[in-house]
Each structure stands twice: as structure tokens, then as C-alpha cells.
């Protein structure tokens, strides 16, 4: 850059007086190790969110059980996993698994090395992190699933029953599809959180994005590596917000006033349909609130 003092001033800020190299950030972004870290972060987040959501759904039925013992267990589960830090759960599980001899042999299984990972994560660490993230997520999803299902008018289940459906059929075909509309927005936030929470697994040696970046400390460019990691986290969460918005639009298809479709500002269409008028979830369908069809006879 030239000798213009103003340019020099900003240059020194942007490069921390010459010690920070933006070129290195660019190189880190697409290094094999970093890309593999992104992959592992993504795998762990998706798997843990999936299992956590299933645990959350199962907890709904456990907490609605006729058996008091089951209800107590469900309540205690949520109380415990929401009441202790995720980091503690991860570290605890990592140290606990070998004690019950579940994961001990796994330490010597070089699964990730076989899969071609440069920074090979010990399998027991991966499993400990995966279980802790899933169980923790289950407790939060339990609350979200409960709010979603409880928001559906009980008349829906009654109608399903009156048609000869069992309560499971009514749940599966009638209530859950409607509850999904209520569940998906907070579920999206949970997954956004999950993408970032996986970084806690770095503490037990899982080579996800953060740990991979940390491992570049020896190069003396750790700040640049961390910047690359941050850019990847941002990319993941941004892409997810687009996917989430599109899922929500599809789920809302039967709820949206068609005259409003596609007319909201671009940002509104991407970030959560806030400009599209929908009937609030669970609100009764009444004559009054409805647009009057032109051709009713």
C-alpha cells in the first residue's frame, strides 16, 4: 500500500501493526484440516440435534404418562440437564464412559484416521461429546415439543378419535403435523445454538472447528486460524437461517393468506416470515377471523 498516512493508519489497525496476516486467514479457510473440522462440527450438530429432538418427543409422552414414576423420571431428566452446564456434562461424560467400560476399547479404534481425517479425533471423545450434546438438547426439545403439542386445539384429537383413529394415529397424522409448525421456529434456533455448542467438544479433544483452529497455535498464526473458524461458524449459521426460513414457509402453506405471498420485503421472506400474515398457531378457525370467500353459496 502507498505511503498515504491515512491508509497506513487503517492498515496498521487491520493488521494489528503488521502482526496479523489476512492472507493467512484465507489460506486457513480452505485447509484440509479446517474443512474436515467443519465437516465434523456439522456431523456432530446434525446427529445430536436429531437424537435430541427424538429424546424431546419421547419425553413428551413420558411426562404425560399415567404412571407417576415415569412422569417423575421425565421431570428429573429435564431438571438435571437444564440445570447443569453443558460443558460440565461433556467433561463428566468423557471421564465417566471409560469407568463403565463402554468406550475404553474405542480409544484405540482409529475410526477418524481410517476415514482420512488429518487431525484424528479419538472415538471415545466423539461419542462422549455426541451423547452429552444429545441428552442436553433432549431436555430443551422436551419443552419445545410440549409447547407445540399443547398448542393444538384438543378438538383436533377428538375429531381424529371420532373417526376411529387410535390416539397414536391421531397424534401422528393430525396433531404432530400441526404441532410441527409451532415447533420448527424454536427448533431452528436450537440448531443454530447446537452448531456453536459443538465447540465445547474441543475441551475433550474432538477435532471440530475450534479445536482444529487451536491446533494451529504452533504456527504462530492462531488468531488468523480462529478468524477462519469464526467465518465458518458464521457461514454455517447463515446458511441454516435460509434453510429454516424455507422450511417454515412450506409448513405455513395452508395458513398463509395467498394475497400476502411473495409481497413481503426480501429480508422478511428470508428471516422468519415476519411480514407474512398467518393465523396464530392454535387459534380457533372462526367465521369472524376468516377472509370471506367471494363465491360461497
Amino acid at each position: 500500500m502507498g505511503s498515504n498516512p491515512v491508509v497506513k493508519f487503517f492498515e496498521s489497525i487491520l493488521t494489528l501493526n503488521g502482526s496479523y496476516h489476512w492472507g493467512a486467514v484465507w489460506q486457513f479457510l480452505f485447509r484440509t484440516e479446517v474443512l474436515q473440522g467443519v465437516l465434523l462440527t456439522l456431523i456432530m450438530a446434525v446427529l445430536a440435534q436429531l437424537v435430541g429432538s427424538l429424546i424431546g418427543l419421547a419425553l413428551y409422552f413420558v411426562r404425560r404418562s399415567r404412571l407417576r414414576v415415569l412422569r417423575g423420571i421425565g421431570q428429573a431428566y429435564v431438571w438435571f440437564f437444564r440445570g447443569t452446564p453443558l460443558l460440565v456434562q461433556i467433561v463428566f461424560l468423557y471421564n465417566f464412559l471409560p469407568i463403565i467400560h463402554v468406550a475404553r476399547p474405542l480409544i484405540h479404534t482409529n475410526l477418524f484416521q481410517h476415514l482420512g481425517f488429518v487431525d484424528a479425533t479419538p472415538l471415545d471423545a466423539f461419542i462422549a461429546a455426541f451423547i452429552a450434546l444429545s441428552f442436553n438438547e433432549g431436555a430443551y426439545m422436551a419443552e419445545i415439543v410440549r409447547a407445540g403439542i399443547d398448542s393444538i386445539d384438543p378438538g383436533q384429537m377428538e375429531a381424529a378419535r371420532s373417526l376411529g383413529m387410535t390416539s397414536w394415529q391421531g397424534m401422528r397424522c393430525i396433531v404432530l403435523p400441526q404441532a410441527l409448525r409451532v415447533i420448527v421456529p424454536p427448533l431452528g434456533n436450537e440448531f443454530n445454538s447446537m452448531l456453536k455448542s459443538t465447540s465445547l467438544a474441543s475441551t475433550i479433544g474432538v477435532f471440530e472447528l475450534l479445536e482444529v483452529a487451536n491446533a494451529f497455535a504452533f504456527t504462530g498464526n492462531v488468531l488468523e486460524a480462529l478468524t477462519a473458524a469464526a467465518i465458518w461458524y458464521l457461514t454455517l449459521t447463515t446458511v441454516w437461517s435460509f434453510i429454516q426460513a424455507s422450511i417454515e414457509r412450506k409448513l405455513n402453506a395452508s395458513n398463509i393468506d395467498p394475497s400476502q405471498l411473495g409481497q413481503g420485503p426480501w429480508l422478511g421472506r428470508v428471516f422468519g416470515n415476519i411480514f407474512v400474515r398467518t393465523r396464530p398457531a392454535g387459534a380457533p378457525v372462526t367465521d369472524v377471523a376468516l377472509p370471506v370467500p367471494l363465491d360461497h353459496r
Binding site: 378438538g155 371420532s162 373417526l163 383413529m165 393430525i174 360461497h296
Partner: protein, 266 residues
């Protein structure tokens, strides 16, 4: 209880609905205090009465949406919701049996209760596919003809939120008919409708009655009861106060409570 059932297990001769001394408590509150009634095959029975008289609760007991506290209800000769164990105790029936019984009894709700995430056509197809295992093409064919029957063939792909109240209730009737019920229960089917939409729903109900459907209709539509019902039952305070032919109930009610009620609503 249920001794007769074993004997009259054959349907065909039994009345469609046979309720005997039905009692129902909500906590300490006795809302049904011994209701007995029979509905014959092909009969249209209208149940009228002030709100809180227990008529809706009684209707909901017929397909076991409410559990009765005491008494028996038989539909087509089969006990509803309860069965006798080998050692003679009476217990609630299995969910599967209850569901199978409900599949033969259509119900239409005051608030329609259409499935808002499904189109009109899908609302009608869902139960035949899930419960009867009908194949999709057959179910769709049947759903279309039922929509035509209630005059809504042009609304097949509309979601409930895009239908008027009257249209929604007609879809709800078609949805119940899709299961080929032998008995239809109507729970104040027109009470949630704007006045100008009531007629289109009553027209469909009248058509059903003319086709010989057995119907129990809880209603505030006295005109409908007078014209369509074979028999009118007046309930108040959890008991049947008076019943008879519509002309008798509406023109010459015997009981004072019936007279008072009719004076207010007519």
C-alpha cells in the same frame, strides 16, 4: 351389566342406540342423572333443551368421547367403551376396540374441528386411509363424490381456513360419512354458524335423514326438529323430561319445564 349383550350379540334386530340409566359425573357434579333412551334403525331423534341440560354430554357418551360413570350404552347391540372380564368385572375396553366402534359412528362437532393442515379433500380421505386401510385412489374417488354430495366439489383443494363456516361444516359431514357410519351424531352442528349459513348445513342434514341415516341430533334449530325429527327428546337438569313426536312436543307439551323452555325459544 352387559349380560344382555352376550345374548343379543347379533346386530340387526337390536336398536341402533340403547342407553340404560346413564349417569355421568364431572368431579362432584352429576351432569347426567339416569338417562335411558332408544334410537331405532333409520330413526332421526332430535335432542333439545337449555344449555347445561346434559344433552351434549350425553351425545358424547354415545361414542365414548366421555366416559360414563354408571349405566350401559349399546350401539347396534354392542356395549360402548366397556367390556366384562372373565371374572365378571367391568373394565374400560381396549383402545383398539373403542376405535373400531367409533369408526362406525360419525360425529359432527359444533366447532367443525376440520384438520387445518389438510385440504377439504384430504380431510375426507385421511380416516378411510389410516383406519380402514383404503387405497389412495379409492379414497380420493369416494371423497370427491362425497364433496359433490354436500355441494362442494369445487372446493376440493381448498384449506379449511379458506372456507366459510357453512362450507367447513359440510366438509366435516362429508368427512364423517367417508367412514360409512351406521349412526351419525350431530353436536349443535349449526350453533357456531352465521345465521345465513345455517340453511346450507341443515339442507345436507335433511338430505341424510331422507336417505334413511340413523341420526341423533342435538340442536337449537326448533324448525329442523319439528320438520325432520321422527322423535324429539327434551332434556333438562341431566334427565329426559319429555319425549314424543315433534308435533306433540311442540304443540302440546305435557311437562311444565318443556312448556317454559319452548315459550322462551319459539
Amino acid at each position: 351389566m352387559a349380560q344382555e349383550t352376550v345374548a343379543t350379540g347379533n346386530s340387526g334386530s337390536a336398536p341402533m342406540v340403547d342407553a340404560r340409566d346413564v349417569h355421568k359425573y364431572f368431579h362432584q357434579n352429576e351432569v347426567l342423572r339416569g338417562v335411558s333412551m332408544r334410537v331405532q334403525r333409520g330413526e332421526v331423534v332430535c335432542v333439545i333443551g337449555p344449555s347445561g341440560s346434559g344433552k351434549t354430554t350425553f351425545l358424547r357418551c354415545i361414542n365414548h368421547l366421555e366416559k360414563i360413570t354408571k349405566g350401559n350404552i349399546y350401539v347396534d347391540g354392542q356395549p360402548v367403551g366397556y367390556r366384562e372380564t372373565e371374572d365378571g368385572r367391568v373394565v374400560e375396553d381396549t383402545e383398539k376396540n373403542i376405535a373400531a366402534m367409533r369408526a362406525q359412528i360419525g360425529m359432527v362437532f359444533q366447532r367443525f374441528n376440520l384438520f387445518p393442515h389438510l385440504t377439504a379433500l384430504q380431510n375426507i380421505m385421511e380416516a378411510p386411509i389410516q383406519v380402514k386401510g383404503a387405497n389412495r385412489a379409492e379414497a380420493e374417488e369416494r371423497a370427491k363424490s362425497l364433496l359433490a354430495k354436500v355441494g362442494l366439489e369445487h372446493k376440493a383443494d381448498a384449506y379449511p381456513a379458506r372456507l366459510s363456516g357453512g362450507q367447513q361444516q359440510r366438509v366435516a359431514i362429508a368427512r364423517a360419512l367417508a367412514m360409512d357410519p351406521k349412526l351419525m351424531l350431530f353436536d349443535e352442528a349449526t350453533s357456531a354458524l352465521d345465521p345465513e349459513l345455517v340453511g346450507e348445513v341443515l339442507k345436507v342434514m335433511r338430505q341424510l335423514a331422507e336417505e334413511g341415516m340413523t341420526m341423533v341430533v342435538v340442536t337449537h334449530e326448533m324448525g329442523f326438529a319439528r320438520e325432520v325429527a321422527d322423535r324429539v327428546i327434551f332434556m333438562d337438569g341431566g334427565v329426559i323430561v319429555e319425549e314424543g313426536k315433534p308435533e306433540q312436543i311442540f304443540s302440546a307439551p305435557q311437562q311444565e319445564r318443556t312448556q317454559n323452555f319452548l315459550r322462551k325459544v319459539l
